[in-house]
Amino acid sequence: MSKPKVGIFGLTSCAGDQLVILNCEDHLVDLANAVDIQDWEMAKSQNNEEIGLDIALVEGSVAQVRDIEALKKIRQRSKILVALGTCAVWGGIPAMKNEVPREVMLEEVYGDNVRFIESKAAQPLSSFVKVDYNLPGCPIEKEQFLQMMASFLHGDIPEILNFSVCSECKMKENVCQIVYKNEVCCGPLTVAGCGARCPSHNVPCTGCHGPIEEVHYDAEVKMFERKGIKPEEIIRKMQIYAAPAWMPEKLMEEIEHENK
């Protein structure tokens, strides 16, 4: 069997997910031998920008016309497209204030020079193309990434986690940040994969992997309310990394509906 052809791309981003791939130091050589990396601008100077790909790994959010064009071209030439990191999956930090018009943002920063500038509210990849797999994380976790690539190489479907950080936190036998410390911890709402990194360092979860599917909002909100934490506080915190998933009006409506 020939090696799968892989492309690694960065749209508007901090390059953190690609850096995690580079930081797979001990496994990087194995990975580079197991797949055929055809296109990776961040790491290579000789790239084939036309060839069809078996797997495209795309980091970053879509925040300018150039990103949309690049993404559509990548989709066209790829069999499997993976959204890599929270920006690609949810829009990430750049999507935090999408409700503010870009012209207002630009004027705040650049005054009269805004006419040079083209910018769009940051969106996840799935707003523009079909995404086959989501691997969230800010940044992605090395082990999760390597597991996903191993699955592809074995012809398997990668295991996409859909349980909360709390599960991993319990396995670590951490003291609960919410129950015992009254902290605004995003663990119950956030998808696992990090091994409860922050609570294991005595720091409440910031929600950097984005939400799990079908979060049980009303139960979670009631639990936080019992600890004297308002829903607005939780929503504000969850909006840092996954604002498009946490539109406050929509959520509050849902919570009120459940409470009736």
């Binding site: 390059a15 995690v20 930081n23 130091e25 601008e41 990103d67 020079n113 500038i117 800010c138 360092h201």
Partner: protein
């Protein structure tokens, strides 16, 4: 015959981010030298407004993955100053160790993998590995060592989570620090081996040598350090870091997506070479020996020697990291709660020397600890005007050379600055028509 040339380097390789160089020569005179920057729009300063002080550092670390620990530390420093918080000595030492971890990773990557291939005549580190396998393997192990330090102290190599306002979530154990120390000692031995290879490359080509103004933080104590409260310039000026805007007058230029900085209407340079030019008399240990071997005549005005200065600083950071661990072990490490914060309205400026130069974060908070205004000026943005100045010198000195050589010379100048384009363009994308 008068020279007419147009040089367009659209994709500058072996730098972080998307940038290019455009030069035009008409009738033997340079009519245009642009360092062009094309990178994404994220409006970080605007995103911070309205955020709670505990959330700010985590957000700004996402400006750039490679410099995430640096942004985090400068941010926490700014917030703590705004609230008048003094951290414990243990926190101070651990933060210093984290900063050295970032310095080791960044300098190792740039010196060996990005800059050295130019000087040794290779197109990249992979082709260099065939002839210099030992050096490339040392480079990778030093980069990994920098990550290991950031992983232990920061809790994550990219976008650290363990440093928090007022202290740390989890303090490393004595045994973890002892293990880390032995890894750093091995790294120091390795790094010193590469000095011999580097020394053979001297003297470096001097097609871009031109005097300029250098700026760096003045060390707090009489030793080489990346921390300070006063900005010094090679003209003899001194400003408290709160007056950083007097050093960095920002301007917008249409060919760059990042703002440029000027001091007294002139370009200036910040970074390893600037630090070494201003503070070399304080450097000690093996780093001092290497400085005397590689750069005996200070100050040095050849920008290509920024790479040499990085190599000297790499050794300095390895030595300092060992000293910091010794101090921590001697004074005893213990799990301690972060300093309790009482938010109050106020302003604070955090300034630290990071791999590419002085990084400034400035915040204003209200009484509830909600951020009202933020300003971030990165080293790469400060260096852009000076990069163009050096590119111009390089064009003047290389104009008659074959185009391929001229292009390489220009790329070498841009790369010498180790530009971090994600950082420089944390604000905005300018699509110029």
């Amino acid at each position: 015959m008068k020279i007419n040339k147009k040089i367009a380097i659209d994709h500058l390789g072996r730098v972080e981010g998307h940038g290019g160089i455009h030069v035009e020569i008409e009738n033997g005179a340079i009519s245009k030298v642009n360092m062009d920057i094309y990178e994404g729009s994220r409006f970080y300063e605007e995103l911070l407004v309205g955020k709670h002080y505990e959330e700010v550092a985590g957000i700004v670390s996402r400006i750039c993955a490679i410099c995430s620990a640096d942004h985090l530390l400068a941010s926490q420093m700014a917030t703590e100053k705004a609230f008048g918080v003094q951290v414990s000595r243990q926190t101070y030492l651990l933060r210093g160790l984290l900063l050295h971890g970032s310095m080791i990773e960044s300098h190792a990557l740039h010196v060996y993998a990005l800059a050295l291939p130019d000087l040794l005549g290779f197109d990249g580190v992979i082709s260099m590995a065939s002839q210099y396998p030992r050096e490339v393997s040392i480079a990778l192990s030093l980069k990994k060592l920098g990550n290991t330090i950031q992983e232990l102290i920061g809790g994550r190599a990219v976008h650290p989570i363990n440093p928090i306002i007022g202290g740390f979530g989890l303090v490393p154990t004595r045994q973890q620090l002892i293990d880390l120390k032995s890894q750093i000692e091995k790294g120091l031995e390795d790094a010193l081996v590469t000095v011999d290879v580097y020394e053979k490359l001297l003297p470096l080509p001097d097609f871009a040598t031109t005097p300029t103004v250098y700026t760096a933080l003045e060390p707090r104590e009489l030793r080489y350090s990346y921390l300070g409260d006063v900005i010094q310039t090679s003209l003899g000026d001194k400003f408290p870091v709160e007056d950083y805007r007097k050093v960095c007058h920002e301007r917008v230029v249409s060919h760059s997506h990042a703002k440029q900085s000027l001091f007294a209407n002139e370009p200036f340079m910040t970074g390893s070479l600037a630090r070494l030019n201003l503070n070399y008399q304080h450097i000690r240990g093996a780093a001092q020996d290497v400085q005397k071997r590689l750069l005996p005549n200070m100050p040095e005005t050849n920008i290509l020697h920024n790479n040499t200065a990085q190599l000297i600083e790499l050794i300095h950071s390895l030595e300092r990291a060992i000293i910091l661990i010794d101090q921590l072990l001697e004074e005893g490490v213990e799990q301690e709660a972060p300093i309790k914060i009482t938010p109050k309205a106020g302003k604070g400026v955090g300034a630290i020397e990071v791999p590419r130069g002085t990084l400034y974060h400035s915040y204003e908070y209200d009484d509830n600890g909600i951020l009202v205004e933020a300003d971030v000026i990165t080293p790469t943005a400060q260096n852009l005007a000076n990069t163009e100045k050096d590119l111009r010198t390089a064009v003047e000195n290389s104009m008659k050379l074959p185009e391929e050589k001229l292009r390489l010379n220009l790329e070498m100048v841009a790369r010498a600055y180790d530009p971090c384009i994600s950082c420089a363009v944390h604000l905005v994308e300018i699509e110029f028509k």
